[in-house]
Structures are given as structure tokens and as C-alpha cells.
Amino acid sequence: MNARITRRTLLLSALPGAAMAQGFAGLGAGSGDFAVPQPGTGFAFPRDHGPHPDFRIEWWYVTANLAMPDGTPCGLQWTLFRSALATGGGAGWATPQAWLGHAAVTTPERHMAAERLARGGIGQAGVTAAPFDAWIDDWRMSGPSLSAVRLQAATPDFAYDLRLATDRPFVPQGEDGYSVKSAEGQASNYYSQPFYAADGTVTLDGETSRVTGRAWLDREWSSSPLARTQTGWDWFSLHLDTGEKVMGFRLRDTGGAPYTSATWITPDGTPTPYGDGAFSAEPLETAQVAGRDIPVRWRVRLSDRGLDAEVAAINDAAWMDLGFPYWEGPVGIGGSHDGIGYLEMTGYD
């Protein structure tokens, strides 16, 4: 018998990454005994801020576009993934719930990333809905509620400590939170909080700086979000200077044209979902990053809203060189609209 009980296997089993899905059979595979997202379910808060262990994968995904006192842009990422190796299962050490944390800091010159791995059941990682608390080791997002949280991560090389707050509602993506990912109907439950104001400190290279700006939370859970032929995605979350927010993604497919989806969010939090084809993103320029050609300048369009903008990486080298590598970093927006945002690109192996 081949012993594949390896850390890497565990890591990969634990990886919930539709976000980093390419080639990972678990995500392309059927959902087995796991629950499957159903349209029209809607959300119930704060319960849905907590974990959904019946689904295979789930994440709490925060990106922040900040600025230092001198105006230098600074992006932060804080992500907690949950991955169930099986449905149901034991308690304590025997739990099938695996957790993975990613944290990163990106400035125009620097990009640093780290990861943490833990199992649920022994207190090392987990999420509670009320009061809201999500943690893996010393990385933590804790509120009284998810509308006012403290976001912390630290490694031997960098650390950050932010307060995120908003009075706006959580925004369902797709049709009332049912976000379709392929023509074959793969989907996830998906809502966002794109309106956080962020304020705190970042420690980098031994120096601690005050930072302020905006943050965006994505909450998503599913069991098999990708079609087998989908190889990766390019995901945009954009803060327009006019106050609107745009979420748009493009799922690349070996079988043909990419599948796109987008949501236009007005400043009061009203979403308008757009199905396949309305949103488009085309690479304008690539850069050599970690030995790969990564698109770092894009033209994104949502004609229905008059959006035709150029999105460019603030730091081309925002490569997440972790157990499962991908690109994630802050971007600047110009063209029909100005603004800032985050870009995530997977499957560029």
C-alpha cells in the first residue's frame, strides 16, 4: 500500500481553494455525501457567519486596501479556510475538519505571505458565529459581531492588527447568495461585506506603521464549486472611487470560453448580479513571477454599468508561495472609473 499520508496530502485535502482549484481533484469531483448549495436558500445571520460543516469547503476571506501615513499603498490578506475530509465524524483529534490560514502583506516593494495548518476539534482553529470569533493559532478575526472585528495575524517576519467596522448590510452575491460557477450549474453560497473601514497597524521589517483604508470580506461555502474542465480563475474585488463596489470573476475553462460572473453593488449595499458574459476581463500584460507568466494588467468591462477600466497590480510579485501557490495582491484602477481593489489569480502553473 502506498503511504500517501503526508503533510502535503493533508494540506491539499485541507485546501478549500476553489480559489486555488486548478488540478485539485477534490474540487472538481462530485460532492459525495456533502451538502450541495440550493438556490433560494437565503442567509440567516449571525448563524451563517459560523461554519457549515456539512459542506466540504468554506472560507472567511478578508482583503484590505490600506495606505500608510506617507500615502504608500499597503494590501493585506487574511484568510481562514475550512475543509472537511469527511461528513460528520469524530470529535477532538479525530475530527475530519481541517483548517488552513493564509496571511499576506503587500506594498509596492514588499510581499510577504505565510500559512498555518490545524485541525478542528482540539481548539487550535475554528469559528463561532456569536460572538463572532474565527481563529487559527494566533491569527484571529474576532468581534463582538462580524460588523465590528479585530483582525490579527503575526509571523516572525510581519504582523498586523486592524479594526474593521461598517454599518452597511452584508451583500449576497449571485441570485440571493446562490453564486453559479459554471454552465453545468456548479455553485456556492456566497455573500460579501465590501464596506469595512479599516484602521490599525502593520509591522514589516521591524517597523510598525499606522494604516487606514478599506477592507472587503468574502464568505463562501460549497462542496464542489468547479466544473472538471475549469482550470483556474481571475477574481476581482474593486472599490470604485464613486462609492460603488464591483465583484467580478472569470473561470477559465479548457473546454472553451471562460465563464464570467459579476455583481454591481451600490454604496447602500444593493447588489445587481450579472450572469455569464456580461462581465469580461482580458489580460493586457504579463510579468514573470516565480517562473510563470502572470497577467498583471487587465482590461475589465461591465458594459451595462459603463465600466471599462484598466486594473494593474501594485506589486507584480504578489506571489503566494505557500503549500498551494497562487497570486493575490492589491490593484489600482483607472479608465472609466478610478479606484483600488484586490485581484486573485489561480491556476497559473
Binding site: 500500500m1 502506498n2 503511504a3 500517501r4 499520508i5 503526508t6 503533510r7 502535503r8 496530502t9 493533508l10 494540506l11 491539499l12 485535502s13 485541507a14 488540478g23 485539485f24 481533484a25 477534490g26 475530509l85 469527511a86 465524524g89 469524530g90 477532538g92 483529534w93 479525530a94 475530519p96 481541517a98 495548518l117 490545524a118 485541525r119 482540539i122 481548539g123 487550535q124 481563529w135 493559532d137 494566533d138 503575526a154 509571523t155 516572525p156 517576519d157 510581519f158 504582523a159 509591522t203 503549500g323
Partner: protein, 804 residues
């Protein structure tokens, strides 16, 4: 042309199959001994690497707590930003013997630490086995051999994985807790620096004590000596084997000189001839190398169980009793065979290249021992002695010790022909009568031809004497030491302190004395070791084997004013009576040093009263009993019966001694086996040298025969000559062997183990060895002598005939 020339060259081997056999056997044997030893070493090293690098080798520190680190502490440290991972270690008894179980948390373990980690892509079967590993019943990752041993047991399913040390199983921590019936997480490995802003460990968990990651890393250093020893033996055997190869190749070239000349005369260029000969040698080397590697594998498979036992006995290192060899090992075996052939053939190839086209094709019947060559050899020997001197005087350490050893041996080997030349010259002067005069002169003239074989014999004999003396001295010392040290008649280990008290109360009226034996793991001058409490009783003060002592040593120790340390600690740290050693809470004066063979770790002995104050929680359930030897059996049965202890917890002195000595003897089984093999190869070297010489001997013997000595007489003289040379070589081997033994006992042992042993002489062993080498020489000489006595006169007469 090439094809025809090659045919002509190879036809020689068809005509001289025995020569071919000699060459192949010599090379194969040399390769076998070398690669066999390499295989053993590689296997053992792999085990240490696995043991050492497997879990926690890269750790910065190890955190421990009495009773194991609580699970909550582990989580608390993780959540405070400390990169710690738990290791829960325990032992489970299986029908196949005790199994060392390591419970690990694959989530927090650094990448690559869990065996089989490399190269897993995780596609496809990814999730399922990982789930099976962490959810009950879990899985045990074990070495393939261990998997076989555990077949049929009711343990969790076993999964074979390369890289797990033998006799060990890795399991998920939760599964290990279940199997070991524990709820703590054992110890914590600190894998790196903490996150920025993490509180100090002392604030987070003051109950933890931190230590440098220990033990297993030391295994490599400790066992180095053993492997260096084996390597030296392997190299020696290889060198001895090469003497044979050199002889066979030299002969094959000499006998084909006429053919070379003819081929050259027929238009084969010198370069082509040389390349053909090189190709021929390469083919032979590869064939013999393959044979040798196979033999080496066989040898290693036969020896490795003993090696494994040795390493377990000496160092507690676990090595599997079976071989798994990599392709690189096979390749290196072939490479060494080719290299050896190249070394052995270099001179012959060179001579062929330098041979003038019209050189006399007559095989050079011999080369008269030239004084200048001998002088050169003597100078080389002196240079080697100088190297030995420098290694001894100028450097410390095991490697220097072995350099000293090697240089001495090479010097001795180089000096041998010089010495024999002088001795035979002296003997010739004492000769009366033409026959003895001729005998000595002729023997002296054989030295260039037999020199290599005799040097091989010298190396084999002196190694035998040296290692034999070392082992026997060690054994004698060890046995005496056991007698001193195991002074109590009966040793008892209770299951608990309470039971210990009970037993003591019961035994008090039934024995002359009860001597408690208590010990704790503790740091000695910052090095992990052991502290033992010693009872105030004549048993110790009268028997304990001290190698150095201050005045009033026992009263001071018993009063708790001073301590004893073991010899290895004293030698490694240079602390002797008059110095002090830092024990937990006490800078203790050292009053004496005792020998402590077979223990790789530092140890100190403290008076029992002071020990009880220093370590109130140390277990107190072991003791030695003094009673009349005649009562031992009855009392032992009584204790076993009354307190229901397992038999191995109540042991009498005699069985402990027997066990210790059997462990000791097993330890040196491999050494003995290699000794015998080396001697065998040396015997083979003599045989092939004599056979080689025999064919060139006719021109030397025919005139003597023609002048009136019978063939039988000549044959007898040939045997006598071989015996005499072997005898002289043996005489030379005795001082060399004794020097070797001294180096082993006084230099190597001190470096490797930390103890110095007195040397004892065992002349009876020498006599046996003399008989053995005489037998080898006689057997080797018998075959060519027998052939000589049956040579038809016409054959001898050809020497003088025109046709020649």
C-alpha cells in the same frame, strides 16, 4: 586487425583458465568485502538519519513537563504564536516485541518530516488516506520490515513507509493517545522563532522545561567509531584483495609479452594495444565487480543481524536486520572494482607501453631484489611513521586515531620486505652447506614476487592480533568490572514505590543488606545524563571500580559532600578528582571517577541521603540485596511468588553477568567474522602469488635439479620456504599487532567511548593464529609444490634446450 588482435589477447585466458579464475576471485573478493561493509554502514547510517532527521531534528528546543505536556498547553502556545508541534512517545508491547510509538500531529509538523512526504502530489487519492490516518482506528506508519513483524497483531492497520526507523511506528497523536492510554501530548518541539509579539514561553507556560533537542543526533557521533572501524576493515580487506589482483594481472601481462611483441611487429600500434588491454581489463573488472557486489550483498545480509545487535547493545541505536540497497550502492561497488583493477594494472600497462618493440620476449624470470627499491620502500615506510607520529601527537579525535592506525599499518607493511631481506641475508650467512645456502639465497630472491602477498598477510595477521588483543583485553576488563560492579547477589525492581516499601519491609529480616538504587535524568555540567543515588555500604566502598580517587572518597560521597562521575564524563570534559561538576542546584566536588563500560552517557553518583533531598520525587523501587549466595534461588522464588513480579524484575547476579557478557560477545561477532575473512583473503593472496611464481620458477629450479636435487626434495623445500616466510611474517605481525592493540585501547577507545582499557596479552591466541597462518601458507604452497614434484624431467630440461 582489432578483432584479430583481441582474439589473440583473449586466447590467453582460455589457455590459462586458472589465472582468469584467480583474477576474478581476487577482484570479486576485494569488491565483496568492501561493498559488503559499505552496505552495512549505509544501512545503519540510514537508520540513524531516519531516527535523527525523522522527527524534530530541526527543532530549536524541546519542551517537556512532568507527566507530559498538557494538551491545553499545546493549544495555548500555538494560539500565542509559538510554532510548536507535539510528539507523544511511548511503547506498546506486541507479540513481536516492544514497539516504539510516536504520536505526531501532521498539521503542525514541518513539511517533509513525516516519512513518504516527498513527492506526494495529492491528486486523486489525497483525502481518503489522510482521513484514515487521523480518524479511528487510525493507521501506523512503519518500516516495511516492521510491517512484516507486526503481521497478524490487533494494532491499527499498518502502512509500510520508507524512512520510518525500524521497530518504530508513527501514528496520529490522537490515535497514539488512545493506544498509550494518555491524554497529554508528550513533549513539544519548538520548530522556529515565535511570531512577532508572542509572549515569552516562561510567561505562557512556566511549568515547561526547555532543552536542546538531544539524543538521536548524538547517535551519529557515537556510532561513528563503530562504522569507522568497519570501514577500516573493509578498506583493509579491499587492499588485501588487490594484492591478488595485482599478482594475476602482472602474470597475465608477463606471459603475454611475446604476444605483445608479435602483435606490435605485425603492425598493431602501441596505443591500440594498450586500449585493447584496457578494454579487456575493464570487461574483467565489470564481471568481477558484479560478482563481488553480489557476494558483498550476501556477506552484508549475513552480517547485518549481528551488526544490528551490536549497535543496539552498544548505543541503543536501532537498525533493521535486513538490507535495502540503493542502485547507487551497486554502482559504487562496480566503480570500486574498476578503480581497484586500474590501480592493480597501472604498473603492468605502463611497462607494456614502455616496452621497446624488440625487447626480449622472455618473461622476466624475476627481478633481483634491488637495494635501491628497498631503500625507497624503507623511506616510504618512514614517511608513514612520520604521519602516524603527527596524527598521534598533533591531533585529537577519532579520525586522527584511525589515521595513526592506518599509517602504522602501511608503514609496517612497507617495512616488511626490507626487514625480511635483512633477516634472510643474516640467515644466509649462518648457512652451512650448499643446499641451505641456496635455500636462503633463493628465498631472499623470492621476496619481490612474494612481497605483496606477505604484506597482505602481515596486515591480516597484525589486524587479527591487534583487534583480538583489544577485544580480549576489553572482555577481561569487562568481566572483572562486572564482578566488582554487580556485587549484590540479587536485584529487585518493584512496580511502584509503595510496593518497593512493602518488599523492603519483607526482606529486611531475610537479607544482610538492602541497597536502594535510585536514579534520575539530569544535566551534568549542562550535558544530559543521569544521576544515581548510592547507598552507604561496604558493598560499594569495597568493590566499586574506581579509576581515579581522592583521599576519603567514600566517606565524602556518603556524607553528601562530594560525588563520583563516570570515566567517559571525566575524559570528555576533563574533570577529575579536585574539580567540580554542576549538578541541579549543586556545584559538586568530584571525589572519584569510576569505569562505566557500555554506557554512552555521562553519569554521576551522589550519596543516597543527599540524593533523596535533591530529588525527592525520584522513583524508589529498585534495590540490590546482599545475602548468602546459597539463599539466592529460594529468595528469588519467594519474592516472585509473594509479590507477583515478572521474572525479569528479580534478577540474580549470575544471570545479569551472563546476559552482559553475551551482549558483549555478540558485539564483536562482526569483528571476528571480518577478521576471519581478511585472513582468508590473505591466504588466497599467498596461494595466487605462489602459483604465479611457480610458473616462473622453472628456470630457477631446473639448474639445481640438474645438479643433483630431486624434484621431491625441491618441492619440500618450496613448502618449507612458504612456511618459513609465513612464520617470519607472523613474527613481524606480533609487535605490529600489539602496537595496533595499544592504539585501539588507549587512543581509539578513549575517543570513541570515553574509556581507556588496560592491555592484556594472550600468547595462546597468537599460537593459534601462527598455526592458522602456517596452515594457510602450507596449503597455499602445497598445490604448486605438488605440481613441481610431478613435473616430467623433459619439462625441466626444456629450460636448457634450444627450443626455448
Amino acid at each position: 586487425m582489432t578483432r584479430a588482435a583481441l582474439q589473440a589477447l583473449l586466447s590467453h585466458w582460455v589457455r590459462a583458465p586458472f589465472q582468469l579464475l584467480t583474477l576474478l576471485i581476487g577482484l570479486a573478493t576485494a569488491t565483496a568485502l568492501w561493498s559488503g561493509v559499505q552496505a552495512i554502514n549505509a544501512e545503519a547510517r540510514k537508520s540513524y538519519d531516519q531516527a535523527a532527521s525523522g522527527i524534530g531534528a530541526g527543532a530549536e528546543a524541546v519542551l517537556t513537563a512532568e507527566g507530559g505536556v498538557a494538551q491545553a498547553t499545546f493549544i495555548r502556545l500555538r494560539r500565542a504564536g509559538w510554532p510548536v508541534t507535539p510528539v507523544l512517545e511511548g511503547q506498546i508491547d506486541t507479540p513481536a516485541g516492544p514497539l516504539r510509538l510516536l504520536g505526531l500531529d501532521a498539521f503542525t509538523l514541518p513539511a517533509g518530516e513525516l516519512p513518504g512526504d516527498a513527492g506526494g502530489t495529492g491528486t486523486g487519492e489525497g483525502a481518503a488516506p489522510a482521513l484514515d490516518f487521523i480518524t479511528p482506528p487510525g493507521q501506523l506508519l512503519v518500516a516495511p520490515a516492521t510491517e512484516e513483524d507486526l503481521a497478524g497483531t490487533d494494532l491499527p492497520p499498518r502502512v509500510a513507509a520508507q524512512g520510518v526507523p525500524p521497530g518504530t511506528a508513527y501514528a496520529d497523536l490522537g490515535i497514539a493517545q488512545r493506544l498509550l492510554d494518555r491524554d497529554d501530548v508528550g513533549r513539544l518541539l519548538v520548530l522556529g522563532p515565535p511570531a512577532i509579539g508572542a509572549p515569552p514561553l516562561a510567561d505562557l507556560a512556566p511549568e515547561l522545561s526547555s532543552a536542546a533537542p538531544d539524543a538521536q543526533a548524538d547517535l551519529g557521533r557515537l556510532t561513528d567509531s563503530f562504522h569507522l572501524n568497519l570501514t577500516a576493515f573493509g578498506l583493509l580487506s579491499f587492499a588485501v584483495g588487490l594484492f591478488i589482483v595485482r599478482g594475476a594481472i602482472g602474470l597475465a601481462f608477463e606471459q603475454r609479452r611475446q604476444m605483445f611483441r608479435t602483435l606490435r611487429a605485425l603492425g598493431l600500434s602501441c596505443a591500440r594495444l594498450l586500449s585493447l588491454l584496457t578494454a579487456e581489463l575493464l570487461i574483467l573488472a565489470l564481471v568481477a565487480g558484479a560478482m563481488g557486489v553480489a557476494l558483498g550483498w550476501l556477506m552484508a545480509s549475513l552480517l547485518i543481524p549481528d551488526v544490528a545487535a551490536t549497535l543496539r547493545g552498544l548505543y541503543g541505536a536501532r537498525v533493521p536486520g535486513a538490507l535495502t540497497l540503493s542502485p547507487s550502492w551497486w554502482l559504487s561497488g562496480l566503480a570500486i572494482a574498476v578503480l581497484g583493477t586500474a590501480v592493480a594494472a597501472a604498473a603492468s600497462l605502463w611497462r607494456t607501453a614502455a616496452m621497446p618493440l624488440l625487447a626480449p620476449a622472455q618473461p622476466r624470470a624475476w627481478a633481483r631484489a634491488s637495494e635501491s627499491a628497498l631503500r625507497l620502500q624503507g623511506a616510504a615506510a618512514l614517511a608513514c611513521l612520520a604521519v602516524a607520529g603527527i596524527a598521534w601527537g598533533g591531533f585529537d579525535g577519532l579520525v586522527a586515531g584511525f589515521v595513526l592506525l592506518g599509517a602504522l599499518l602501511v608503514a609496517a607493511a612497507l617495512l616488511l620486505p626490507v626487514a625480511l631481506h635483512l633477516v634472510l641475508g643474516g640467515l644466509a650467512r649462518t648457512a652451512r652447506g650448499p643446499r641451505s645456502e641456496w635455500f636462503w639465497a633463493d628465498t631472499r630472491q623470492q621476496l619481490p614476487g612474494l612481497g605483496l602477498a606477505l604484506m597482505a598477510l602481515l596486515l591480516a595477521l597484525s589486524t587479527n592480533i591487534g583487534v583480538g588483543t583489544m577485544v580480549s583485553s576489553f572482555r577481561l576488563t569487562f568481566a572483572g568490572w562486572l564482578d566488582q560492579r554487580l556485587a549484590a547477589e540479587l536485584y529487585v525492581r518493584a512496580d511502584s514505590d509503595a510496593q518497593g516499601d512493602e518488599i523492603r519491609a519483607y526482606l529486611a529480616p531475610r537479607t544482610r543488606a538492602i541497597l536502594p538504587i535510585r536514579s534520575v535524568e539530569a544535566d551534568l555540567a549542562g550535558v544530559a545524563g543521569e544521576i544515581v543515588g548510592v547507598a552507604d555500604h561496604p558493598t560499594y566502598s569495597e568493590n566499586w571500580p574506581l579509576v581515579a580517587a581522592a583521599p576519603d572518597v567514600w566517606p565524602r560521597v556518603n556524607a553528601g559532600r562530594a560525588v563520583l562521575v563516570n570515566e567517559q564524563f571525566a575524559r570528555r570534559t576533563g574533570r577529575w578528582p579536585g574539580d567540580t561538576v554542576a549538578l541541579p542546584g549543586w556545584d559538586a566536588p568530584i571525589a572519584g571517577v569510576y569505569s562505566d563500560y557500555g554506557n554512552p552517557r555521562p553519569q554521576a553518583m551522589v550519596g543516597l541521603d543527599r540524593f533523596a533531598i535533591m530529588f525527592p520525587d525520584a522513583p524508589d523501587r529498585q534495590f540490590g540485596l546482599r545475602l548468602d549466595p546459597g539463599d539466592v534461588a529460594d529468595l528469588r522464588a519467594d519474592i516472585l511468588d509473594r509479590f507477583g513480579l515478572p521474572p525479569d524484575q528479580v534478577t540474580d547476579q549470575a544471570s545479569v553477568k551472563a546476559l552482559s557478557l553475551s551482549v558483549f560477545d555478540r558485539t564483536f561477532t562482526v569483528t571476528a567474522a571480518l577478521n576471519v575473512l581478511t585472513l582468508g583473503v590473505a591466504g588466497l593472496a599467498i596461494l595466487t602469488s605462489l602459483l604465479t611464481i611457480a610458473t616462473m620458477r622453472q628456470p630457477q629450479l631446473a639448474p639445481v635439479w640438474a645438479l643433483g636435487l630431486t624434484r621431491t626434495r625441491l618441492a619440500r623445500l618450496e613448502v618449507l620456504r612458504a612456511l618459513m616466510l609465513a612464520g617470519l611474517t607472523f613474527l613481524a605481525a606480533i609487535p605490529v599487532g600489539l602496537v595496533l592493540a595499544w592504539v585501539l585501547l588507549a587512543v581509539i577507545n578513549v575517543e570513541a567511548f570515553g574509556w581507556r582499557l588496560p592491555m592484556h596479552l594472550f600468547p595462546l591466541d597468537w599460537l593459534r593464529l601462527l598455526a592458522l597462518s602456517a596452515l594457510a601458507a602450507a596449503l597455499a604452497a602445497a598445490l604448486p609444490a605438488r605440481r613441481l614434484s610431478r613435473t616430467p624431467p623433459a619439462e625441466l630440461l626444456k629450460v636448457f634446450a634450444h627450443e626455448r
